[in-house]
């Protein structure tokens, strides 16, 4: 295992469609075992960048390497990372236990009691143990997201991508989800990449971040979000972290 190499390396990424460029010159590293957050306002391309990182889209140019391997869209076979989509993306016709067992029975030779033990343990881990027999349509949005995280962890990946994990959740459920993310990172040593703009979550879980700006078509700041909040001189970044338009207004001399 190459401990010194970043878990994810992104170099000179250019994302767009035809002549329309969404972002360019995007370069950053994500260290192994850390919680990394991709920030930015609505429509700046956070989720699009995530789709490129997980290989669902191909960049116009640039390099994405996970564990020093080739581009994610070229990976075949056993998935190398887990992904939580915004809505949880659970299969509606399967119970939570069946949803979780699916990657296990598809990609491993584990059968029988170990499958039941592993699925139940992951559901317990996200606090959904009692709901193993429920269909996704029978549980709440927050529970679906937690079940989505549990399913993403079934193949014991060392990398998790979470798209807006706490969006639309009440503060208590969002806090519980944040605590779960901290546990996953600290106790299981999983590298976690989160797309979000929920400030309380960012300050609680993020060890480092990048801030994307639609106007700048790329990264405008990077580092520890708490330091960026307190020390950044970039008006957009200050405005983003303080939820105040005063910084932007001042910078435009209005």
């Amino acid at each position: 295992m190459h401990r010194s190499r970043p878990h994810i390396a992104v170099r000179d990424l250019r994302i767009g469609w035809g002549s329309r460029v969404l972002m360019e010159n995007v370069t950053f590293d994500i260290e192994r075992g850390t919680t990394f957050v991709i920030l930015g306002g609505s429509g700046c391309g956070k989720s699009t960048l995530l789709r490129h990182l997980i290989g669902l889209e191909r960049p116009q140019s640039g390099v994405i390497e996970i564990d020093g391997l080739g581009p994610p869209h070229s990976y075949e076979g056993v998935p190398r990372f887990g992904v939580l989509f915004q809505s949880g993306a659970l299969f509606g016709s399967l119970t939570l236990a069946e949803n979780l067992a699916l990657p296990l029975t598809t990609w491993t030779s584990v059968r029988g009691r170990p499958v039941q033990e592993l699925t139940q343990a992951k559901l317990d881990l996200v606090g959904l143990g009692p709901y193993a027999g429920f269909l996704p349509g029978e549980i709440s949005g927050g529970m679906k997201k937690r079940a989505g995280i549990a399913r993403a962890m079934m193949l014991e990946p060392d990398l998790l991508f979470l798209d807006e994990p706490s969006a639309g959740l009440d503060p208590i459920t969002a806090y519980e989800l944040d605590q779960l993310i901290i546990t996953l990172s600290r106790d299981l040593g999983i590298t976690i990449v989160i797309v979000t703009h929920e400030l309380p979550s960012i300050f609680l879980v993020a060890e480092s971040c990048i801030v994307l700006d639609k106007a700048a078509k790329g990264i405008v700041a990077r580092g520890d979000p708490r330091i960026l909040r307190d020390q950044s001189t970039i008006p957009f970044v200050r405005c983003f972290f303080t939820r105040s338009s005063a910084a932007l207004t001042a910078s435009h001399g209005v």
């Binding site: 509606g92 016709s93 491993t108 584990v110 592993l118 881990l125 009692p130 709901y131 349509g137 193949l155």
Partner: protein
């Protein structure tokens, strides 16, 4: 490689673990743990020695955590020796600590007999809600005339295009082939009595009055019924219907009325065009198989066509169209759940639409027979 050895000393046992306790070795681990578990009978203390564990992930930790749970459930105390492998110990502790502490809630899953009883009980409710939906539509149609802005009239041309123009090729093809089939059957059966001269009349009577409206409606039910049901069902599960309600729109007036109007307008037109193509099919079949000329066939057809034969068929098409529209839209609006529910409601809509079309067509046939038409 996974090795689990039990070092037993009196009432206590030490489980010496070695190797890789990860997902790749989960099957071996399960086998090793199962074989060692039996040897722990009679112990009062079981220690788990993690010194030899080279690698461990969540899967291995879960298996070891559950082993300790099972051992403790039988009485012995357990102890994890974590000095040399704190990561493994922490993982095992995590999965032991995050155990379901509330009883497992089982979603109610019914048996076959239970489903049967539930379906029977549901039948009455379904009939009531169907009547309620029809009544709501009748009311909505009236309200649509007085409050014209409550209906999405702008979608009407698009719906006419989708249901009528886009479906023309399929309904025309089906009717043409049905005309050919009636012609071929007429020639083969009536020809035995030297009565092929009556084939044009057979095509007119059979197709104009019965098969034309029926075949066209079945094709439209399969094509447009499925489309309407899945469209509205998707709107329902993505909360678009709730958004309409929240904005003060009646979904029935906004969505169902224009769709039913489009069907009521399009189906008679499609049926009429289908009738013409069925005549063409009859001509092709008859002139190919007999020595009857196309001119003689057309003359005989012209004699057979009466306003009554044309009207008896076309008059039922608005009713068939309404049945398709109400069933498809009703099923769409009744959708609850996710993607699977959309598929299930679409299937039900198509099946019920086709069934409804056949039932209504049969009722008209009985009515005509009763009236001596």
């Amino acid at each position: 490689m996974v090795v689990v050895q039990a070092d037993r000393e009196g009432n206590s046992a030490r489980l010496m673990l070695a190797g890789q306790f990860d997902l790749d070795h989960a099957v071996t681990t399960a086998r090793e743990l199962a074989s060692i578990e039996a040897s722990l009978d009679g112990c009062r203390v079981v220690e788990l020695d993690l010194t030899g564990v080279d690698d461990i992930d969540g899967a291995g930790a879960v298996q070891l955590a559950r082993l300790l749970d099972r051992v403790e459930a039988r009485g012995p105390r357990t102890h994890v020796l974590d000095e040399d492998n704190p990561k493994a110990a922490r993982l095992i502790a995590l999965y032991r600590q995050r155990l379901t502490d509330t009883p497992v809630v089982t979603a109610r899953r019914s048996t076959i007999l239970g489903s049967l009883g539930s379906s029977a009980a549901q039948l009455l409710r379904s009939l009531t809600s169907a009547l309620d939906f029809i009544g709501h539509n009748a009311l909505a149609a009236g309200q649509a005339l007085t409050s014209r802005r409550s209906v999405d009239w702008r979608s009407l041309p698009q719906l006419l295009q989708q249901i009528g123009a886009d479906g023309l090729a399929v309904t025309s093809g089906a009717n043409l082939l049905v005309g050919v089939i009636i012609g071929v059957l007429g020639v083969s059966q009536l020809g035995r009595f030297g009565a092929t001269v009556y084939v044009p009349e057979l095509v007119v009577v059979a197709h104009f009055r019965e098969l034309g409206p029926l075949v066209t409606a079945i094709v439209v039910a399969g094509r447009s019924g499925a489309g309407l049901a899945s469209e509205i069902a998707t709107m329902k599960v993505s909360e678009e219907i709730d958004a309409l309600r929240a904005m003060g729109f009646d979904p029935v007036r906004w969505l169902v009325v224009p769709r039913c109007i489009a069907l009521v307008v399009a189906l008679p037109v499609l049926t009429w065009i289908g009738d013409l193509l069925a005549l063409l099919g009859g001509i092709v079949a008859t002139t190919s198989l007999t020595d009857m000329s196309a001119r003689a066939y057309v003359m005989a057809t012209a004699d057979a066509i009466t306003p009554a034969s044309l009207l008896e068929g076309l008059i039922k098409t608005p009713f068939l169209a309404l049945a398709i529209g109400l069933i498809a839209c009703g099923q769409g609006l009744a959708t609850a759940g996710g993607a699977a529910a959309v598929g299930a409601r679409t299937t039900t809509a198509v099946v019920l639409s086709i069934l409804g079309v056949i039932v209504i067509s049969s009722l008209f046939t009985l009515f005509y027979a009763f009236m001596g038409l």
